[in-house]
């Protein structure tokens, strides 16, 4: 940990700066609930979010992406580290160090969009109550002003204001997600944390919500911290992407660069695992000849698939956490943990061999689709 805790953000365009964030959950066993270890859910994570951008946190289940997002909102308190946030008034505050009661004014500036639009809306409340609740909690406006604001918010997310007396059950998944977004926008937040906002939606509805989020970002100048596991969605919506593995960030850079030229072997493996919605690019099918393969004729060659499983965050491996699964592992990786290096301006990687490895990305072909 850095000795001096300075609470200034150097770059003017940065809205949120997270430094050396750690969140460990205790593991207790037996009748006496004896402490037997810690799940290192977030283990020394450092990144920043620039005003008006979308930063995506990606990784597999248990990698700590949701815990990181929840720490940023102080929904849970981190064990250590700094979460510096530039408020609307221009002050820089450390969210991690603030007392709970002094967080409320800050909550207006940071809001959350949840994953499951079925469990995140109270079925006994009308849309007016749901979307208007943040206003009531913060004592904003009279009842009639509140109704006007709710109507405005519903219109903003593409719902008819007449719906405000209805209950959530009358709406489909996509419409409910719009309601959740309207609620998140009620207090004019500047940072929206969206935790898997489209993964519970049907494919045909996902695009509507992604378009809405892009549109709102442009109109309201919003900043998104976007937590997701679907890399196609992430590529579509993000300016920059941070890849997490077992509680650590392993790579962070601009989205086009990350997808085209990944510098961490785990990023490469993630990209290779995405099923491609184009049968012509199917692994082992050369050319664009669309002849139907006739079933069982011989072995089909396959893409390189990552073997093994995600490491246990309560007992991570020695050295680099990824080394047991890494195809490029050398002795150094087993013995020494790599540090978080900026290999070129704005491109951070945690890998000993990132400079020498030639890793494969995803090409964005010209003239296709």
């Amino acid at each position: 940990m850095i000795a001096t805790k300075n609470t200034t953000i150097e770059r003017d365009d940065v809205l949120l700066e997270v430094r050396h964030l750690k969140k460990f959950f205790p593991v207790r066993r037996g009748v006496l609930r004896r402490l037997v270890g810690h799940v290192r859910a977030v283990d020394d994570v450092t990144f920043d979010v620039r005003a008006g951008e979308t930063l995506a946190l990606v990784g597999e289940s248990g990698c700590g992406k949701t815990t990181t997002a929840r720490c940023v909102l102080r929904a849970i308190a981190p064990n250590s580290g700094q979460i510096l946030f530039r408020t609307e008034a221009g002050q820089v505050v450390d969210v991690a160090a603030m007392a709970r009661h002094s967080l409320r004014p800050l909550r207006r500036e940071m809001q959350m969009i949840f994953q499951d639009p079925f469990s995140s809306l109270n079925p006994r409340m009308t849309l007016l109550d749901i979307v208007g609740e943040p206003l009531i909690v913060n004592g904003i406006g009279s009842r009639s002003e509140r109704i006007d604001r709710v109507a405005e918010l519903l219109r903003l997310v593409g719902l008819r204001p007449e719906y405000m007396r209805r209950f959530p059950h009358a709406f489909s998944g996509g419409q409910r997600q719009r309601i959740g977004i309207a609620r998140a926008l009620a207090l004019h937040p500047r940072l929206l944390v969206a935790d898997e906002p489209v993964s519970a939606l049907d494919v045909s509805v996902q695009a509507q919500i992604l378009n809405l989020m892009l549109d709102l970002q442009e109109r309201l100048g919003l900043t998104y911290l976007f937590v997701a596991h679907d890399l196609s969605v992430v590529k579509h919506i993000s300016d920059r992407v941070a890849v997490m593995y077992v509680g650590q960030m392993v790579e962070l850079t601009e989205a086009p660069r990350l997808f085209a030229t990944p510098k961490h072997p785990y990023t490469e493996a993630l990209l290779a695992s995405i099923p491609d919605p184009d049968p012509r690019r199917r692994p082992g099918r050369g050319g664009s000849d669309g002849a139907s393969p006739d079933g069982s004729s011989g072995e089909r060659p396959r893409r390189a698939v990552l073997s093994g499983e995600v490491a246990n965050p309560a007992a991570p491996p020695s050295g680099c956490y990824f080394h047991p699964r890494c195809p490029y592992v050398v002795d150094l990786c087993r013995n020494m943990a790599p540090s978080w290096n900026e290999i070129r301006p704005g491109h951070w990687v945690r890998c000993h061999r990132s400079e020498e490895l030639k890793l494969r990305g995803v090409e964005t072909p010209v003239g296709v689709n």
Binding site: P275, G290, R302
Partner: protein, 353 residues
């Protein structure tokens, strides 16, 4: 295109549910074929009836649902006879699975031995109080006349084949001791225990992470190459379909709206729903941050099924006075079949594209 008749033919299948509130036409006239050794991908969004179709084939539709029409015909392949199919057919050339008792001898010899099922959530489809091995052994001994010892050896071999490390130890473990990926592998091992001719995989990778998903998909292809079994792969993930399927059936609200070889479906989609669905997904290869084309509206509630073509309220090519009257029949265009009035009269003529 195949000279041999398909091994399983589903024709105009209708499975309705009769809850107190009304009728839900979960599957409403579904027709498709499954060829031996090939993969049929069934794509659709929630409520399209893809899982109920799978359950209808195995006759495990839960009350208040039942099959009210159509047929599911299972045939013996004369060139490659299979003892399990012979047992189920009992000397006949083919059998209509909708006509036999769900608890009867025929159905019991089909399930597991001829057609088996891999569920989406392996945690809820295994028993938590029996070891993985005992559950696989039970399935083997139900269909094969072997000793416990032999069945156990086979169970270990199956676990090894699906890539479970230390299979001889894992066989005595309970499902809660396995990770998500290993559980799904164990589920597949159980489904394969009696060498089925058809493996129905209902969203087999939806609950899994991408790297595990890639492992499971590769495993399925490998097993198919080795055994020549057919796979009916049910998913809403078009990427998975594009990588795995030979043929694709696109379902919407209980009906197949379009079907054909995978390349034709992805590169020359005919039905407005298929087109819109393909355009609306962000691809890893597409240009980021541009507006995605969307399908307006949302999937209707099962009690408010639109009249006529089920897709007409959301369709960009909706023709007033035509689409809302009757359900369009399947027309054949080239190698595809499509259920849409845009193609009613143009059938064979417009085949060349």
């Amino acid at each position: 295109m195949d000279q041999a008749p398909p091994f399983l033919s589903v024709r105009d299948l209708k499975t309705y549910f009769y809850p107190d509130e009304g009728i839900v036409r979960a599957v409403d006239g579904v027709t498709f074929d499954i060829r031996r050794g090939a993969t049929l991908g069934i794509v659709g969004e929630s409520g399209c009836g893809k899982s109920v179709t799978a359950r209808s084939i195995l006759r495990i539709v839960e009350s208040p649902g039942r099959i009210v029409g159509g047929s599911i015909v299972l045939r013996q392949d004369i060139t490659r006879p299979d003892p399990d199919v012979q047992a189920a057919l009992d000397g006949r050339a083919e059998i209509d699975l909708t006509q036999v008792s769900p608890e009867g001898r025929e159905m019991r010899s089909v399930r597991g031995a001829v057609v088996s099922l891999v569920f989406q959530e392996p945690m809820s489809s295994f028993s938590p109080v029996h070891t993985v091995g005992n559950q696989i052994i039970e399935a083997i001994r139900l269909h094969r006349n072997v000793s416990k010892r032999e069945a156990r050896d086979r169970a270990i071999e199956l676990l090894r084949r699906v890539g479970i490390p230390r299979a001889e130890q894992r066989v005595d473990e309970y499902t809660f001791q396995l990770s998500g990926g290993l559980r799904q592998r164990a589920m597949i091992a159980m489904a394969l225990s009696c060498d089925p001719l058809l493996l129905i995989a209902d969203e087999p990778t939806t609950a899994l992470d991408v790297t595990t998903q890639a492992q499971i998909l590769d495993l399925l292809q490998e097993l198919q190459d080795q055994n020549g079994m057919a796979i009916m792969l049910i998913t809403h993930n078009l990427g998975v379909i594009a990588e795995m399927a030979d043929d694709v059936a696109v379902m919407y609200l209980g009906r197949v709206v379009e079907q054909g070889p995978v390349d034709d479906i992805f590169h020359a989609p005919k039905h407005p729903y298929t087109r819109a669905l393909l355009e609306s997904i962000p691809s890893i290869h597409s240009v980021p941050r541009v507006k995605l084309p969307t399908i307006t509206g949302s999937i209707p509630h099962p009690y408010n099924r639109p009249k006529g073509c089920p897709f007409h309220p959301r369709c960009v090519s909706y023709m007033r006075g035509v689409c809302e009257r009757d359900i369009p029949a399947l027309s054949t265009i080239g190698r595809q079949q499509v259920s849409c009035y845009l193609y009613e009269n143009t059938s064979v003529a417009a085949a060349g594209e």
